[in-house]
C-alpha cells in the first residue's frame, strides 16, 4: 500500500468546502481602507513628485539668478570702465581744448582785503551774496 497524502487522495473540488462570508458593509469598509491607502500613497507620491518638481524648478531659478548676477556684474564693470574712460584727464583736456578752454597765459592774483580775518559787516554782506547767488538759475 502506498501512503498518499490526504489532499492527493481525493479529487480537488472546484469550491472550497468552507469559507467565510463577509457582509457587504465589512467588504465596503475593507475596500474603503484599500482605496484610502491607495489614495494616501498616491497623494504621498504626488506630493513627493511635486516637491521634487518644485525643487528642480527652484534650482533652475537659482541657476538663472546666478547667471543674471554674472551678467549684471559684467555690466557693472563695463560701466565702471566706461566712467573711468570718460573721466580720463586726456579726454577731458581734449574736449576742453575743442570748446576753446585754454590755460591762461597770464595769471592775475586778486587779494581780497579782510578775507583772512573778516571785519565788521563781512558776514552780513556774505549772507546777501549767498542769497543773490542762490537766486541764480
Amino acid at each position: 500500500m502506498v501512503a498518499r497524502s490526504y489532499s492527493l487522495a481525493y479529487p480537488v473540488s472546484g469550491t472550497r468546502p468552507f469559507h467565510v462570508i463577509i457582509g457587504p458593509r465589512t467588504r465596503q469598509r475593507r475596500i474603503g481602507g484599500w482605496i484610502g491607502l491607495a489614495f494616501t500613497l498616491a497623494a504621498v507620491f504626488f506630493i513627493m513628485i511635486s516637491t521634487r518638481v518644485a525643487l528642480d524648478r527652484n534650482a533652475f531659478v537659482l541657476e538663472d539668478i546666478r547667471n543674471q548676477i554674472s551678467v549684471e556684474e559684467a555690466r557693472y564693470w563695463e560701466l565702471r570702465l566706461r566712467v573711468a574712460e570718460l573721466q580720463s584727464p586726456a579726454r577731458i583736456a581734449d574736449l576742453a581744448a575743442e570748446m576753446g578752454m585754454v590755460y591762461p597765459t597770464r595769471l592775475v592774483t586778486i587779494e581780497v582785503p579782510g578775507l583772512g580775518s573778516p571785519g565788521p559787516g563781512v558776514e552780513d554782506r556774505w549772507v546777501e551774496l549767498k542769497m543773490l547767488l542762490s537766486a541764480q538759475p
Binding site: R52, E78, L81, A90
Partner: protein, 564 residues
C-alpha cells in the same frame, strides 16, 4: 478516478535550472555592483558626472588717490575651436574672420592644425559673444575670460605696469610688485553634469568661492600726472630730447603725486612697444646729477658749521687739478657769498666749499640724503645709483668732481628726495607709490614709512632761501611760477656713456629740481631731460617744465597763491 500528478518535464527542469543560474548570476552581479564594489562604482559614476572648475579670483583694481580707476578687470570672450570637429574649415574661417577681426587665412591655418584645441582670438569685447554664438559654427566655442584694462591709457603706464594677457600675472610696475596682493586666491566649483554637459539641478553643486584680490590706492593724482606728461612731451618736442622724466613728490609724506617718463606706451596695446619705452627711467636709470648736487655739498657745509649763507669766497678764474680744469659757466663777481655760489651755480665756489667739507663728510651727507642706496620705493627694479666709498676716492679730482655732481650716479627719484628733504625741514621720508591696500573685506592695510633727519630745520630753511634766489635772480629764472614763490636748482652734465666708458661730446643731461611754494613746500618736482638738442641746459630746457608742472600741481592741490 485517481489523478496522477504529472512528472516535471525535462525541458521544464532545464528552463528552471537556466533561470536559477541566470538569476543567481544576476543576483551575484547585483551583490557585487550594489554591495561589494558599490562604493567603487558609485565613485566612478560620480567622477564621470562631476566637473571641477577653477574660479579665477577677481584681480584687484588700482585706483589713483582720488578713487579713479587706473587698472580694472572686466569680462571678455576668447574664441577657441576643436579643429577635429570642423568639417569645412574654409567656410568657418570666412564666417568667423569679420567677427573676431582676424584674417581668414590666419584662422584657416589655425583650424587646419592637428590638435583638439586652438585659440582663434583672445580677450575680445563681451558684446561679440552673441554674434559668434548665433553664427552656429560647429567646433567653435566661446569662453569668458577676465581681461585687464587700463582706462587712462598711457597716463601712468610706467607706474601701474601691465599683466600677461594669458593669466593676468603682473609683469611690470605695480602690477608686478603687488601681484600677490592683487591676484587674490582662486576658488573652485564642483558641479554635477548630465551627458549633455548641463548642470543637474539637484546634483552636487559645491562652491569654494574665490577670494578677490586687494585693491591698491595709489598716491598718484591723475590731473598732476597728466599735466606733467603734457609738459614733458612739449619740452621734448621743443628741445629734441631723446627721453625725459618727471617726479612730483609731496615732501611731507613722501607720496609720489606724479611720475612720468617719455617715451611711453599704452599698456592696452603693447604689440609694437620698443623695449626702452617700458622702463620707468625715474627709478631705474641713473645719471650724474651735476649742479643739482651742489645742494648736498653746501647743505653739508652749512650743517657742519663750516660756512653760513653769508660766508664769502674769493672765486678764482679756474681751478686746475692735474689735467682737469674746472671753470664756471656764468658771469659773476670775484667774491661770492655761499648764497651767491648757489644762485649763480658756481662750480669753483662749490669746489672750494667741498674742499673744506672733505671726502668723508661729503660722503656722509650724500649717504644721509640717500645717494648710493635705493630709496626702498614700492617699485620693482629700483637702481641704487653709484656712490663710492671715500677710501676709494682719488686724492686728486675726486672731491672737487663729486662736490659739483660728477663721479656720483643717482636716479631722478633719489635727487628728488634730496630736495624733498630740504623742503621737509631736513627730514627724509621714504617715497612710495601706494597709499593703502584695501582687501576684499574693505580692511585698509596701513603702511609705515621710514623717516630720518638729515639736516636741522635751520639749515633746511637757509637752503630753501638760497634755492629761492636761484629762481628769482639766478640760473633758474625760467622756473618761476606766476603767483607763487618757488625755489630750485638747475643742473647740466655731460652725459656719461656706459658703452664707451667716457663722457659724450655732444650729449648732456639737463635737469631742474625745485619746490613750491618755497615758504611751505607742498610739492617737489624733479625734471630730467636726456640729450636735449636745443635749450640744452637745466635753466633753459628743464626749468620751464618745472614751472608748468608746479603751476598745475599747486592749482590741483588747492594751494593759494602767495600774497604780494
Amino acid at each position: 478516478m485517481e489523478v496522477q500528478p504529472r512528472r516535471p518535464h525535462g525541458r521544464l527542469i532545464g528552463v528552471g535550472v537556466v533561470l536559477v543560474v541566470a538569476w543567481s548570476l544576476i543576483g551575484y552581479r547585483l551583490t557585487v555592483v550594489q554591495g561589494a564594489r558599490a562604493d567603487e562604482f558609485a565613485a566612478q559614476g560620480l567622477d564621470q558626472r562631476l566637473q571641477r572648475l577653477t574660479i579665477a579670483a577677481d584681480r584687484g583694481t588700482i585706483f589713483d588717490r582720488d578713487g579713479r580707476e587706473l587698472a580694472v578687470t572686466v569680462d571678455s570672450i576668447s574664441v577657441y575651436a576643436n579643429p577635429q570637429e570642423i568639417a569645412n574649415p574654409v567656410d568657418v574661417s570666412r564666417t568667423l574672420a569679420p567677427l573676431v577681426g582676424r584674417e581668414a587665412r590666419d584662422l584657416l591655418s589655425a583650424l587646419a592644425s592637428d590638435t583638439e584645441f586652438v585659440y582663434l582670438a583672445r580677450q575680445l569685447d563681451l558684446s561679440l559673444a552673441d554674434a559668434i554664438r548665433q553664427a552656429n559654427l560647429p567646433g567653435v566655442y566661446v569662453l569668458v575670460e577676465p581681461k585687464r584694462v587700463y582706462p587712462s591709457g598711457d597716463l601712468a603706464a610706467h607706474v601701474v605696469g601691465f599683466v600677461r594677457p594669458d593669466d593676468n600675472e603682473g609683469l611690470e610696475g605695480l602690477e608686478f610688485f603687488y601681484d600677490e596682493a592683487l591676484a587674490g586666491t582662486p576658488g573652485s566649483l564642483l558641479v554635477e553634469r548630465d551627458p549633455e554637459g548641463m548642470a543637474i539641478p539637484q546634483g552636487r553643486h559645491q562652491i569654494e568661492p574665490a577670494e578677490p584680490g586687494a585693491d591698491l590706492v595709489l598716491t598718484i593724482k591723475s590731473e598732476i600726472q597728466f599735466a606733467a606728461g603734457e609738459a614733458l612731451a612739449a619740452a621734448m618736442e621743443r628741445t629734441g630730447a631723446a627721453a625725459g622724466s618727471i617726479v612730483v613728490i609731496d615732501p611731507a609724506t613722501g607720496a609720489i603725486l606724479a611720475m612720468v617718463n617719455l617715451p611711453s606706451y599704452d599698456p592696452n596695446d603693447r604689440s609694437a612697444v620698443p623695449e626702452e619705452a617700458l622702463r620707468n627711467r625715474a627709478v631705474t636709470d641713473v645719471f650724474e646729477p651735476g649742479s643739482t648736487q651742489k645742494v648736498v655739498t653746501i647743505s653739508g657745509a652749512l650743517e657742519t658749521g663750516l660756512v653760513t649763507p653769508a660766508t664769502t669766497f674769493q672765486i678764482p678764474k679756474q681751478i686746475g687739478i692735474l689735467d682737469t680744469v674746472f671753470e664756471d659757466f656764468t658771469d659773476h663777481a670775484d667774491v661770492l657769498s655761499v648764497t651767491e655760489i648757489v644762485t649763480y651755480s658756481s662750480n669753483l665756489g662749490t669746489i672750494l666749499i667741498g674742499d673744506q667739507l672733505g671726502a668723508r663728510r661729503m660722503h656722509t651727507y650724500m649717504s644721509a640724503f640717500g645717494q648710493g642706496t635705493a630709496t626702498g620705493i614700492d617699485f620693482p627694479g629700483e637702481a641704487s645709483g653709484v656712490l663710492r666709498d671715500p677710501a676709494d676716492w682719488c686724492l686728486t679730482t675726486c672731491v672737487a668732481s663729486t662736490s659739483i655732481g660728477y663721479r656720483v650716479s643717482v636716479t631722478a627719484l633719489q635727487m628728488a628726495m634730496v630736495y624733498a628733504t630740504v623742503a621737509n625741514d631736513g627730514v627724509w621720508v621714504q617715497p612710495h607709490l601706494v597709499a593703502e591696500i584695501v582687501d576684499a573685506t574693505g580692511v585698509r592695510v596701513p603702511f609705515d614709512f621710514l623717516q630720518r633727519r638729515v639736516l636741522s630745520v635751520a639749515t633746511a630753511e637757509e637752503m630753501r632761501s638760497m634755492l629761492q634766489a636761484v629762481v628769482e635772480v639766478g640760473t633758474g629764472s625760467l622756473a618761476a611760477v606766476p603767483g607763487y614763490r618757488v625755489g630750485g636748482k638747475t643742473g647740466t652734465t655731460e652725459k656719461y656713456l656706459e658703452e664707451s666708458q667716457a663722457y659724450s661730446e655732444d650729449e648732456v643731461v639737463a635737469s631742474f629740481i625745485g619746490m613750491a611754494p618755497i615758504d611751505d613746500p607742498r610739492v617737489v618736482i624733479a625734471v630730467v631731460l636726456d640729450s636735449p638738442r636745443t635749450d640744452a641746459t637745466g635753466g633753459r630746457g628743464a626749468a620751464p617744465v618745472f614751472s608748468a608742472v608746479a603751476l598745475a600741481a599747486l592749482h590741483q592741490l588747492g594751494v593759494a597763491p602767495d600774497a604780494g
